[in-house]
């Protein structure tokens, strides 16, 4: 019993220390500048590696999600005779919820895990130490451009996800189920509000991008530099960032809708 309490305490202290270290790392790496700081070219390279290379998975996933939404929505709405609301339903679902959330989850699996593994291996092979000893701050050189690349990429990916999803919905609803395309697009255009739906969705995506990338780079930077440690850190990245995205999504939605 004493042991259990002690372990509980140790775990608690360790998690709080870990959050503290993550906060310190964030504060030191979020700003540019300092010795041997990364340049604009590094940022572009990182956006390419985390953002551009995630395009295919985002586009394919977005298209399928849109198609499923339209199919499910159609079979439900047709019972109430309100199929004309299908375009509105698909677009609002994607812009407000599924675009940001699913893009962030896919990003965590595709790019977040890669970031963790990459940084963990750089640590294990003493590349980060070597940088320090050359008078280059690895936080500024390695972490900063990756953090910003994630922050910039995820909102764009989320927007693309929603756009492709809406097309996927149109493909199923209009081309396959024979819905009148004027109703699909027209009702969508009438009801979707730029600020309430698009911008608020984008704000979510920015927050998710920040949190997912932060978790990924921190897990890599703080990993135990062995093959086992890096494997564990990679898993942690996917688990923690998925939970963080879903949890934050509820909080942000509640704040934005103002219902609670």
């Amino acid at each position: 019993m004493i042991n259990f309490v002690r372990q509980l305490g140790q775990t608690g202290v360790a998690s709080i220390q870990s959050i503290g270290r993550a906060g310190m790392m964030f504060a030191q790496s979020v700003t540019w500048g300092g010795p041997g700081s990364a340049g604009f070219g590094d940022l572009i390279r990182q956006i390419h590696s985390v953002g551009v290379r995630s395009l295919s998975i985002i586009i394919v996933a977005g298209f399928f999600v849109g198609m499923v939404l339209a199919l499910q929505g159609y079979t439900i709405l047709v019972k109430f005779g309100s199929v004309s609301a299908l375009g509105t339903m698909v677009s609002l679902t994607l812009l407000r919820e599924l675009g940001p959330v699913l893009a962030a989850l896919l990003f965590a699996g595709r790019a977040g895990s890669a970031l963790t593994a990459e940084i963990g291996l750089m640590k294990a092979t003493e590349q980060l130490s070597a940088m320090e000893m050359m008078g280059v701050d690895p936080l500024k050189r390695v972490i900063t451009p990756r953090l910003w690349a994630g922050l910039i990429s995820v909102p764009i990916l989320a927007l693309l996800f929603s756009t492709v999803g809406i097309w996927g919905g149109a493909f199923v609803a209009v081309d396959m189920l024979g819905m009148y395309d004027g109703a699909y697009w027209g009702n969508m255009a009438n009801t979707v509000n730029f600020y309430d739906d698009v911008i608020k969705g984008l704000i979510k995506a920015v927050v998710f991008g920040l949190v997912v990338t932060w978790i990924a780079v921190y897990q890599g930077y703080d990993s135990v530099p062995t093959s086992e440690g890096i494997g564990k850190a990679t898993t942690q990245t996917v688990v923690l960032s998925s939970l963080a995205v879903l949890g934050l999504d509820f909080i942000l939605t509640a704040v934005m809708l103002g219902g609670i």
Partner: protein, 272 residues
């Protein structure tokens, strides 16, 4: 403040890793422009010592003076500045950037810290690579190099900014005799040509004695011997002699501390 002949001075340093005490009142000074080999049994924290001098680890007590300045009390920015201009370190695993070619690896510190024009960087990098005999390998990537070549590239990179102090962490481990000979020649050559203060952590007694001006034997958290190889070999410290001769038993026992052998066998697994 500190002896002008010494480049690095360690004063009363105590260092804990977790709850284990690695150093306990360590005192040693490394002379300027000389090669000093730091030797000792595995796990005595020789690499830890190098990392304290480089400021990557902070001593729990005491001072680590480089050029008379305490590395442990320096601000992060000053420390990076000191490392950039004055220190080089060759890591055990070399720490080459795997996504950059040999040329770009050596050019990295120059590109990061200077605004030199491209053709001058090219000349400097080629000079450093020529010094380690790898000018022809400039376009290869670290994955395409042998262990000895990797270490030579890392050496070229660590002298790119012309440091005054260079630290080698186990530079001979895992090398074939030819590569080892090359590294030995390079360490000696750099020391003679540039007057670099060189600190060398190694287990290889023969090789280290060939090139080192001084040996510093560390054991049990203290320096147990410091002097030229001849002085130490003929000295009266039994543990130092055991280490230099590689005797399996002596003041450092062959057996890890254990209960009485006979009692242990007879107990039939019923320990306490």
């Amino acid at each position: 403040m500190s002896d002008p002949r010494s480049h690095v001075e360690i004063r009363d340093v105590t260092f804990y890793r977790g709850t284990r005490r690695i150093y306990d009142g360590l005192n040693v000074s490394f002379p300027k422009g000389k090669i000093t080999a730091i030797m000792g049994p595995s796990g005595t924290g020789k690499t830890t010592l190098l990392r304290m001098i480089g400021g990557q680890l902070k001593a729990d007590q005491g001072e680590v003076l480089v050029d008379g300045r305490d590395v442990g009390k320096m601000r992060r920015g000053d420390l990076l500045e000191l490392r950039k201009n004055k220190m080089g370190m060759l890591f055990q695993t070399s720490g080459l950037f795997t996504d950059l070619s040999v040329f770009e690896n050596v050019a990295f510190p120059l590109r990061t810290h200077t605004d030199l024009p491209e053709d001058m960087i090219r000349d400097l990098v080629l000079m450093k690579l020529e010094a380690v005999g790898l000018r022809g390998a400039r376009d290869l990537f670290p994955a395409e190099l042998s262990g000895g070549m990797i270490r030579r590239v890392a050496l070229a990179r660590s002298i790119a900014m012309d440091p005054e102090l260079i630290m080698y962490d186990e530079p001979f481990t895992g090398l074939d005799p030819i590569s080892m000979g090359m590294i030995l020649r390079l360490i000696k050559g750099l020391n003679e040509a540039l007057g670099l203060t060189s600190l060398l952590v190694s287990h290889d007694v023969e090789e280290s004695c060939q090139i080192a001006d001084y040996l510093c034997i560390v054991s049990g958290g203290k320096v147990i011997g410091f002097g030229t190889p001849e002085e130490l070999r003929n000295g009266d410290n039994a543990e130092v002699r055991q280490f230099l001769n590689g005797d399996p038993d002596g003041p450092v026992p062959f057996h890890y501390p254990a209960d009485d052998y006979r009692a242990d066998l007879m107990s039939g697994g019923q320990r306490d």
